[in-house]
């Protein structure tokens, strides 16, 4: 019998991924055997350090592009930019958890390596160019998040959220796999390039493509679940509310970002030729998402839930960019992701500052009179709210403006119209938080606790929100260049 020749792998292309994964595995062991109980913060710092190293290791790769693992993984500037965004999201999510976990008596060192593994899953989704890799990336991310969601055991809401997430996640995974099966049946391949080649062989004739389109539909649905597009969004508010706040923060930017990144690659590189088919589907989903997400947030008095619905709405806006990915939408997507990640993590950071031991302070009334008690915290929160609402000169405005201009320029004028109108509605509920903070007396005695990590996180997010609004040009240039190599698959 022949021995199996393991093909050479260009490990350079996956340096950040490798660092994150190996560091996380190592950290699991270190946490158990080295770091004493009660000093688990150390694990957190080590995790942040690992993510930082991975980020730095990515810098020399800026001018590198290529694929490895039999073309299942690419490195291009698109994936590298996303990698950095994910690393930032992971690091900030750890920073806000450092004091949250002990304060709520749910500190376990595994939290930090698990976040790292989730980041690895996200990077995998940004780099993967094969449906099976994307599927496994989703699963790495999902299974990690099921665990993290239920991390606040024995708090029942946390377990409930994890349960709902898991049931629906597995349900969606079933559809996703079936979609892969159908696509495999139609094309004989699962690689994005192979699918594109299959579609590119002949002019797109839907009549002959029932099988393929059924598969593509199911794969789109699988992504839609992760992105939380209406009507596949139902899990989002419950899961966000139930899970520990740092996890909700991480999910709101991480899962969404990774799933959108993979969706963009799938749409733009595999099924671009089937555009007449998927455009109406995604357009309908986008409209439903923008409308329902913002409507759901409208009447919420629970700020955490409000942010959950708002994240649904934002996914709708980002979807506009994805639909015109090849016409400049991809860079709008990257910029939006960066702006949204920083802003949303900042908002969640403020939410965490208000939470006390065993007590949820998510009611909008708890924000009453925050300006009197903690002026800078209130100003930061106002900044995040305005950024989410899209008021200049914040990052959120710039991001929305990019997305809407590219969508308009790409011929999706009426979708941009819906986007602009729904974001006008959205201003109302973001504003309510500001009104509470600035125009009301404190409702009850709450002492916001600002630990170092949290403080740093809020400051970083706040400053970045302003810088991205006032000086977006350098970042835009960065993501713009990232596109030149986007076709790497």
């Amino acid at each position: 019998m022949d021995s199996i020749q393991i093909p050479p792998v260009d490990l350079r292309l996956l340096t950040p991924l490798l660092i994150v994964v190996s560091w996380a595995s190592l950290l699991l062991l270190i946490d158990v055997f080295v770091i004493p109980e009660g000093r688990k913060k150390l694990t957190g710092y080590l995790a942040i350090a690992g993510l930082a190293v991975a980020g730095l290791a990515g810098i020399p790769l800026w001018n590198v592009s290529g694929s490895t693992f039999a073309g299942m993984l690419v490195l291009d500037r698109y994936s590298l930019s996303l990698t950095w965004i994910f690393l930032i999201a992971g690091a900030l999510s750890i920073a806000i958890a450092l004091d949250y976990l002990p304060r709520h008596a749910i500190e376990q060192g595994e939290y930090y390596p698990l976040i790292m593994v989730a980041v690895a899953g996200m990077i995998l989704m940004a780099q993967g160019t094969d449906l099976i890799v994307l599927f496994l990336g989703i699963e790495v991310l999902s299974i990690t998040l099921y665990i993290l969601t239920g991390f606040a055991y024995p708090r029942l809401t946390s377990e409930e959220a994890a349960m709902k997430y898991l049931v629906l996640g597995a349900f969606a995974a079933g559809f996703f796999v079936y979609g892969i099966a159908l696509i495999f049946g139609a094309t004989g391949t699962t690689s994005l390039a192979g699918i594109a080649a299959y579609l590119g062989r002949q002019p797109f004739a839907p009549q002959a493509e029932t099988l393929f389109l059924a598969g593509a539909s199911l794969v789109l649905i699988g992504f839609s679940f992760k992105v939380a597009l209406v009507p596949f969004h139902m899990w989002t508010p419950d899961v966000y509310e139930g899970s520990p706040t740092p996890v909700a923060a991480f999910m709101s930017v991480g899962t969404k970002g990774a799933a959108l990144a993979a969706l963009l690659r799938f749409v733009a590189f595999a099924i671009e030729d089937a555009r007449p088919f998927w455009l109406p589907v995604l357009a309908t989903l986008a409209v439903a998402t923008m409308v329902i997400g913002n409507l759901g947030a409208l009447g919420q008095s629970n700020v955490k839930r409000m942010l959950a619905y708002s994240s649904i709405g934002h996914a709708g806006y980002i979807l506009l960019a994805i639909m015109v990915a090849v016409e400049g939408g991809a860079e709008a997507f990257l910029f939006y992701m960066l702006a949204y990640t920083l802003t949303n993590l900042g908002a969640f950071g403020v939410l965490i500052a208000l939470e006390q031991r065993g007590e949820a302070a998510w009611s909008i009334d708890d924000f009453g009179g925050l300006y009197q008690r903690r002026p800078l915290l209130a100003v930061a929160m106002a900044l995040f709210m305005f950024s989410l609402a899209g008021v200049p000169p914040t990052a959120g405005f710039m991001a929305k403006f990019f997305v809407f201009t590219t969508a308009y320029g790409g011929g999706l004028g009426w979708l941009a119209l819906v986007g602009v109108l729904t974001s006008a509605i959205a201003a109302y509920y973001y504003l309510r938080v500001v009104v509470k903070m600035f125009m009301q007396e404190p409702a009850r005695e709450l002492r916001p606790e600002l630990s170092q990590g949290l403080n740093l996180e809020i400051v970083i997010a706040g400053v970045a929100t302003l810088i991205l609004g006032l000086l977006p040009a350098p970042f835009v240039l960065l993501v713009e260049r990232s596109l030149s190599a986007l076709g790497g698959g």
Partner: protein, 100 residues
């Protein structure tokens, strides 16, 4: 030989039964079983297509799906045990405090 479409029809039927299981059954354990059925149906389709195309890749994919299914079940059942310890139930309708 049996035409591939027979297998696909069977697989679609099994998949639908799995979906119905999730929609109708309340016992979380049975819900997980239904999800397993869905994944199995997908596997059947994959293998059938692999046979038709004489491409072994489909079988490799099944291998991965089985692994993922096992991992999901493990985590899911662990979660179920955790919930059972505080709530004394495996009825998914009972865990519905988060809403609105």
């Amino acid at each position: 030989m049996v035409p591939t479409s027979y297998y696909i029809l069977l697989s679609a039927a099994l998949f639908t039964i799995g979906v119905l299981g999730v929609l109708i059954r309340r016992n979380a354990i049975v819900v997980f079983m239904a999800v397993e059925l869905m994944l199995n149906a997908a596997n059947l389709a994959l293998v059938a297509y692999a046979r038709e195309r004489l491409s072994i890749d489909g079988q490799v994919l099944v291998f991965f799906v089985i692994t993922v299914a096992a991992a999901e079940v493990a985590v899911g059942l662990a979660l179920l045990v955790a919930i059972f310890r505080t709530k004394r139930t495996t009825d998914v309708d009972e865990v519905s405090t988060l809403r609105g």
